[in-house]
Subunit: 390 residues, 4 copies
Amino acid sequence: MSSATLSSNFLQTGCQWKDGVKNLERNAGKVFVKCSVNSKTHKAEKEVRLGVLGASGYTGSEIVRLLANHPHFGITLMTADRKAGQSIASVFPHLISQNLPRMVAIKDADFSDVDAVFCCLPHGTTQEIIKGLPRSLKIVDLSADFRLQDISEYEEWYGQAHRARDLQKEAVYGLTEILREEIKSARLVANPGCYPTSIQLPLVPLFKANLIQSKSIIIDSKSGVSGAGRGAKEANLYTEIAEGIYSYGITRHRHVPEIEQGLSSAANSKVTVSFTPHLMPMSRGMQSTIYVEMAPGVEIKDLRQQLRLSYEDEEFVVLLEEGVVPRTHNTRGSNYCFINVFPDRIPGRAIIISVIDNLVKGASGQALQNLNVMMGFPESTGLLYQPLFP
Amino acid sequence: MSSATLSSNFLQTGCQWKDGVKNLERNAGKVFVKCSVNSKTHKAEKEVRLGVLGASGYTGSEIVRLLANHPHFGITLMTADRKAGQSIASVFPHLISQNLPRMVAIKDADFSDVDAVFCCLPHGTTQEIIKGLPRSLKIVDLSADFRLQDISEYEEWYGQAHRARDLQKEAVYGLTEILREEIKSARLVANPGCYPTSIQLPLVPLFKANLIQSKSIIIDSKSGVSGAGRGAKEANLYTEIAEGIYSYGITRHRHVPEIEQGLSSAANSKVTVSFTPHLMPMSRGMQSTIYVEMAPGVEIKDLRQQLRLSYEDEEFVVLLEEGVVPRTHNTRGSNYCFINVFPDRIPGRAIIISVIDNLVKGASGQALQNLNVMMGFPESTGLLYQPLFP
Amino acid sequence: MSSATLSSNFLQTGCQWKDGVKNLERNAGKVFVKCSVNSKTHKAEKEVRLGVLGASGYTGSEIVRLLANHPHFGITLMTADRKAGQSIASVFPHLISQNLPRMVAIKDADFSDVDAVFCCLPHGTTQEIIKGLPRSLKIVDLSADFRLQDISEYEEWYGQAHRARDLQKEAVYGLTEILREEIKSARLVANPGCYPTSIQLPLVPLFKANLIQSKSIIIDSKSGVSGAGRGAKEANLYTEIAEGIYSYGITRHRHVPEIEQGLSSAANSKVTVSFTPHLMPMSRGMQSTIYVEMAPGVEIKDLRQQLRLSYEDEEFVVLLEEGVVPRTHNTRGSNYCFINVFPDRIPGRAIIISVIDNLVKGASGQALQNLNVMMGFPESTGLLYQPLFP
Amino acid sequence: MSSATLSSNFLQTGCQWKDGVKNLERNAGKVFVKCSVNSKTHKAEKEVRLGVLGASGYTGSEIVRLLANHPHFGITLMTADRKAGQSIASVFPHLISQNLPRMVAIKDADFSDVDAVFCCLPHGTTQEIIKGLPRSLKIVDLSADFRLQDISEYEEWYGQAHRARDLQKEAVYGLTEILREEIKSARLVANPGCYPTSIQLPLVPLFKANLIQSKSIIIDSKSGVSGAGRGAKEANLYTEIAEGIYSYGITRHRHVPEIEQGLSSAANSKVTVSFTPHLMPMSRGMQSTIYVEMAPGVEIKDLRQQLRLSYEDEEFVVLLEEGVVPRTHNTRGSNYCFINVFPDRIPGRAIIISVIDNLVKGASGQALQNLNVMMGFPESTGLLYQPLFP
């Protein structure tokens, strides 16, 4: 079956157009009027059968939301240990219209009907579970477990031994625009963290082109609260978050080694960054305001020129016009990353701003982008959701 | 060209897959690295060519957002008098990836390449403008100008003479699930207001089936702020809205005659409602909490049974399971309306709750649903966006 | 010591004005500049020594905030079982400038230096603890444990036997403006719930004057999230609450019997209300929109006239001018209740709106108002905080 | 009359305690019940008579809120050109309980009963108006007009000639903790901007003690929306601000010269800063995250030690305990500034965080603090409001 046919099926899903008729039925002596007989969605079988492991968290539900309009990917397995036996609608009522399998415990999962999985499990557990999956599966792992190539870094920052060292070797870091070629042939992709995505997209090309200096990279990031997940914590209550902002994890945030790994690789020398994340009252969204020192003789227009070249053919990374400020509002719900560069008052320095939706380009959207690449589909397939504003 | 082919083109838009290559270019002696050569979206020509009149407001931009993934509808004309000459991205940066015509003043609009229009203009002006449009155009009007069948009602509530009385006669009220048959053959559809949509969807079937009484219908509605539009008003500043709620337009809101028109028609007798809208800190979303008295002998389960029958084959109107509370959060960005019915402590009374996204099912989404119907496409075409949560 | 002297001490607390001098100190060879030598607050001993039981929740911290400027009340005991041994600043950093005793476990509390207590404990536990307190203490209990005069109502709604039935008999319901005389001589005051406060203040005088009918009282209330306390619950996460609204506890909210008790007493007949609370994105604030049927021959102006008479000499309950809509924004952080009455479209009905800050007039502020009355001080002492807007 | 007596009068204002009695009145044949006869607040005459010029903006209303509990300052004049003739309650309903003079146009203002004024007018206009005020008045000016000692700086950044150059010479910059001595004898105080306050309080002592380097001061500030005032602007609508963040005025914000003036003076050499403000969804609050390079040999503990010495006797500036992160939530509605210092990952660098409420310590609170100093009252008089949390 051609993908053209499939996609057309999809778009008309739920729409076997029948003439509306008014029916009358009787029930216990009362008259009920029936307005219409349109019939509800029945998902066409899709070519690629997916499992979502850890479907009861925000990244899991976001995968489901994004896949709802994907012409080739269909979900045939969902796991959630504590919600085993439940429907997705009982956990995420906004997905009630999706016709999906009930969630099962991971130990009861049957992978015989699965071609690929999104793994949305907590770090630590993830290693063991992925180690146990059939080798035939393509895997995009949204946890931090396979992001750090240097196992000792993992063990230092996560305070525990790594239990799948061999798998680490084959894992490809899934920053799509930067490592697309490697991702194409990967079996296991380690999907980047949200902060690292927002930071590496602008900085990697600039480092590669030797346009910025590796000293004194200062990154002030602001994140929405969904990044903290759906776990019940006092710190993330509405009353504790609304109408205020605060820094957290100063110098100790676990995304630091991932950021430094990517930048060091691009710079071809060890980069140490100053990274201060802030938690603020928005459910989704992330801005990184990055203060850099340019290489001698380099000017703002050179940074912009490099970013333009790097990203002009990309669907999801957009260098804005000169002077236009990227706003998190303009990425909400979408896979876009908007970037711009501004001169600093301090001569020789530049201010780089990048914004993403932390749950999409910073997590589930990039995961889907990666799976598209891994499965040989156009990378934006099913991902062209426009931002929701206001 | 078949719609299957078209839609498949669409879905792969922006994805003429090329191998990523690394190019080197030189500019003023500096080396720039080019990451990839994916080429950007170029919209396939679509079968139906649309105009969006009044594209610089929230309902206009929402039309654009929704259409971005529609396989058959393409935008060829956009008007915005005060923003004439500007690109959509200069007014709504979140739509930057859309390749759209520049906005023109309405007086300069050329309708020769247009098959249908969404009219997102303020009431009053709308009448004149629609009167001047070519008769060949299909029109969905999002203003209030053609919603009231009784011209004198319009003149009473809007305080001005109606300037397109003849058009009023042919206008069909666009509450899709209720008036689908009439909409199919309409040329001019008056798209319902947001409050009336949230209120009529649950009440019309109950009135038609004589299950509720027409006296003492008390409606307490809560709306997000986007309903007030993008005009700069002190009352809608962040500082005036955040962290609070208030009633407004008590007994005098202009949606009252529209609500009463629909309910009176369904009840076959004059219905006068108590309607109190509230403005609260959310950009999108609307809940109507409706307190009704049941007809003698009628029970809660009868109301639920009627709503189940009325809507079980509908894509966008969903009666939730018994006891499940509809939440505006679960409709954000989508065309769904969720409804449920609860017993009241006062014997013989029921509490009905319905929620929508005021900009989608309450405005631009329903408008697109109507145009799908008018043009003979399946009604959910391009509208199956899942709600954005969190 | 006269209270005049005391209060003047307080107001100038922290302000023993000394000339600022620049001091130089040396530390490990580095020079430190000292800007000033103003000395910090040292609380004057206050006449009345208070205990705050359950100081680690929002009502407890709000008591502390309000008392910070009270000329006669000082805190000498704070309990918090799970935070025993900690300072208030470690639990509520916003109170860092307050010089307060460390929190102790309730079992270790020494009441010998305490004249009165605010009891901010969960219902159920409260009964036992209050039963064990010295009879010499004045008590304002913010829990629900002593609000219902009919023990069987308590047991029905709270699903457990009442363990302090004798105390219930002496408890006075603390709706200050309505029961001031009884509160004056009370030892144990049951501080009203937030919803019941916002509802009874407007309705009790109207029922007493026979201006409204007891049938068909429909109350649609909207509350901020702090009413749910500081416990870590998924439902109250920022991501679950922001940008949306939903009804909860429909017909089953535990404030129902308290509301009906007060209204039935005022009406001199059993009143059954329709009560639907909603949770919305604001930390503080509560609006009750109340739909009533007037007694035959009664008009809107009669309701307003009665409320004016009832409250014109009150500090904290304000009937707004005709047509002015009460807004929760205008009560934030203050002990005020704003009320107004509007005509309904349905003849013979009225819409009454009242707004409070649920943590102040709806909890800790009214508690302090009550203790002022119980101790013989002017009732607004230390409570004249103006609302915080924006 | 001693201030002790005055303050005691104030605190018991509105509380001439009378026994509540139940009165019956008759009106048109209906019975009205009167609950009580407490009489309402009548402000005692205060020693110092104040004018608030520009009372209809947020800084003006905040002055009124703060003064409500001041024992010595009473308002006898309020101006607001566009609201002339109106009561404060018609413009700011939250201040309805305050008994204040009606607002008049500035040209009609009578200063014969005024001892001091708060000038809350826009920059530009302010110069002319202050030039025309009687020399006998003490003035705290909240605009930017007299903050820059170098007139040419003013003219460069504000794009207009300064029209009160002589006054500029006598103006004292009102950063209270730093310039208290000068403020004591000032007639005209230029109240600092919000960003400059949050930045200079931590940095000035560190520069004075030569603990940090003047190069590479990078300041990433986040502000609540009230800083933008109450003017109706599309950019500040709820829908444009909620659930997102963005940088603005990058390198061009008008607070830059004020910040650099203060830091250069403290450092005794020209300091150029990188300053990037961000607008985020909170009505009040401001955080400055400041990235600095320490002087050779200086360590984090030295910075902390200096700030401790500088501020240990201050009421309103608090260095938090090691490791405790300042949060804007904990300053809301109060005059406090919380500061802390953290090590950076980049050796030799430190991260300094300071938080304030932009409308209080960043505007009206510091203005009142200054007037207290100018009039010889203890500086915290009437200002000890504790932060409102949650």
